[in-house]
């Protein structure tokens, strides 16, 4: 190679390689050496070496191959070191998967195995999130801690605990059997959705309303899963839903840090590119003609909202029909609450309030329940009751921008007569069951 590459070129190459190759590198190293620990360490060291060597010697013609060779060498070194430390470990550490790849009816990719092991139902949910962001997403422990607003030591502990359980309890590094696949995949999508939601409506009193790093990472991970399982309708549905929510991000929080509900957002600020991609995925699923799962229905609901040029043009009958479909699939109270918002638009606030009041028992600790109820009461002219519900919503709300929004609505409801304006829920038609 002729001379040293430019610093910027090298940095770009590293960033690109990290984005494109990290998960593949960890996954293939984990399969070959039978250890997530070794895979993680060998992969990060391969990248650290790349920073040094590519600067001095130039970017190799095949960066992915270079990283793979370097990580493999590093993994072998690590195993030798382990063996010296404890010879009893030798056999366990040398479990190298030399079985030929067996087809299991779905695409058999190391990255898919990695995703399934990180999202295994035997791991605690918080560990699944941290492990997925680290192993599949390639975020550092510090980045994960920042994104999730927890201490670095807590993230490190979650990851270590998960890796120990994977090793000691024998959680397998493989794609689930065809029989288990739908359920296991829905577990994976739940983890990715949780990551997205945490970024989308962050909890914590003094935190920014949205954390773009997390929503972007969640979308990237779903795109990866879609590359691996392109025929799966729910993967496409989840991606479409995330894109259609992400598209509205620029319009979601005011300059004063207050949440802006969908009916008041500046629709010109929505991302046309993301909406176009989301709509095209929803059309693809409709054309498939198979019964949609929950994410596909939620994507379709978001497609209806993002199709309206003006909030007043929203096809609420279509939204309600989709919620009926969702409720038959998932009779959870949160779905019933969101459905009630559509009922308010189609049949009026009276009918909606009757439904919402029926959910009091199960959702009394959920801030969106009180916020929805407050808005219905306000529209029915019951100002005192509305205020009381706003107060309860504010006490339960974890997001700073949303709290500011609720405070504002509460104070308005005290002075303003009810108007025939569209209902405002703080999370309209976006959230699935928590």
């Amino acid at each position: 190679m002729a001379g040293a590459a430019g610093v910027n070129d090298v940095e770009d190459a590293i960033v690109r390689a990290h984005r494109d190759e990290w998960a593949r590198l960890v996954a293939s190293t984990a399969r070959r050496f039978g250890s997530l620990d070794i895979a993680e360490e060998a992969s990060s060291e391969a990248f650290a070496t790349a920073v040094e060597r590519w600067r001095a010697e130039g970017i190799p013609p095949n960066p992915a191959g270079w990283l793979s060779t370097t990580a493999t060498r590093r993994a072998i070194d690590l195993i030798r070191r382990e063996n010296k430390r404890d010879s009893k470990h030798r056999e366990a550490m040398m479990i190298v998967d030399d079985e030929p790849h067996r087809s299991v009816g779905v695409i058999d990719d190391d990255r898919l195995r990695l995703i399934f092991i990180c999202c295994h139902p035997a791991l605690a949910m918080e560990s699944r999130v941290a492990l997925t962001l680290r192993m599949v997403g390639g975020l550092t422990v510090a980045e994960i801690a920042r994104a999730l607003l927890v201490q670095e030591s807590a993230v490190a502990r979650r990851i270590t605990r998960a890796k120990t359980k994977i090793r000691q309890a024998g959680i397998p590094f493989r794609v689930p059997t065809a029989k288990d696949l739908p359920e296991r995949l829905s577990g994976v999508l739940a983890v990715l959705f949780l990551i997205f939601n945490e970024g989308y409506l962050a909890t914590g009193a003094d935190t920014p309303a949205m954390r773009d790093d997390l929503t972007a990472e969640a979308i990237r991970l779903v795109r990866l899963v879609r590359t691996l399982l392109p025929a799966d309708g729910e993967v496409a549905g989840l991606l479409a839903m995330m894109l259609l929510i992400e598209a509205r991000r620029p319009a979601r929080v005011s300059s004063s840090g207050e949440l802006i509900t969908i009916d008041e957002q500046d629709r010109a600020a929505w991302s046309r590119t993301l909406i176009a991609e989301g709509h095209s995925l929803v059309r693809e699923r409709l054309a498939a003609g198979t019964a949609p799962g929950r994410y596909q229905i939620l994507a379709a609901i978001n497609a209806v909202h993002t199709s309206a040029r003006d909030a007043r043009d929203t096809d609420w009958r279509q939204v309600l029909a989709l919620y009926d479909q969702l409720a038959s699939l998932d009779p959870s109270p949160v779905v019933a609450l969101n459905r009630a918002i559509a009922v308010a638009e189609v049949d009026g606030p009276h009918a909606a309030l009757a439904i919402v009041d029926g959910l009091e028992g199960t959702l009394s600790e959920y801030h969106a329940f009180h916020a929805t109820r407050a808005d219905l009461l306000r529209r029915l002219g019951r100002a005192t009751d509305a205020r009381e519900s706003y107060d309860r919503a504010i006490r339960l709300c974890g997001n700073a921008a949303e709290t500011r929004y609720l405070l504002c609505r509460r104070d308005e409801s005290a002075v303003r007569p009810p108007a025939s304006e569209p209902i405002r829920s703080t999370r309209p038609h976006e959230e699935a069951s928590p």
Binding site: K88, A92, A122, Q168, A169, G170, I171, P172, P176
Partner: protein, 116 residues
Amino acid sequence: MQYLISVIDDEESVAADGDGSASDVEAAAIDDFNERLRNEGHWVFAGALGGPATATAVDNRGDTPIVTDGPFLESKEFLGGFWIIEAPELDTALRIASDGSRACNRKVEVWPVLQE
């Protein structure tokens, strides 16, 4: 590797069964389940345990062994029985445990037996 499937009994199921032992229906289902474990090569060992009132704690970490009536910790839930099974990895063990839970009509836990 080997896994312990521990059967979690509680006061409720004891009250339902009278003495906490398996009902006839449960016993028959457990027999079928055991038979399958043997046929499929997962069987290592299994047993039903006497209730907490029959347990005796022994502590010989000090100068003399101390023998005490009952388990060290009285709790609502206790170990009612167990299986030791052989399974290649956790997913298989969980599938077996889920059939075992159905057969004995109790909640179960899956614990890996650490390999040396």
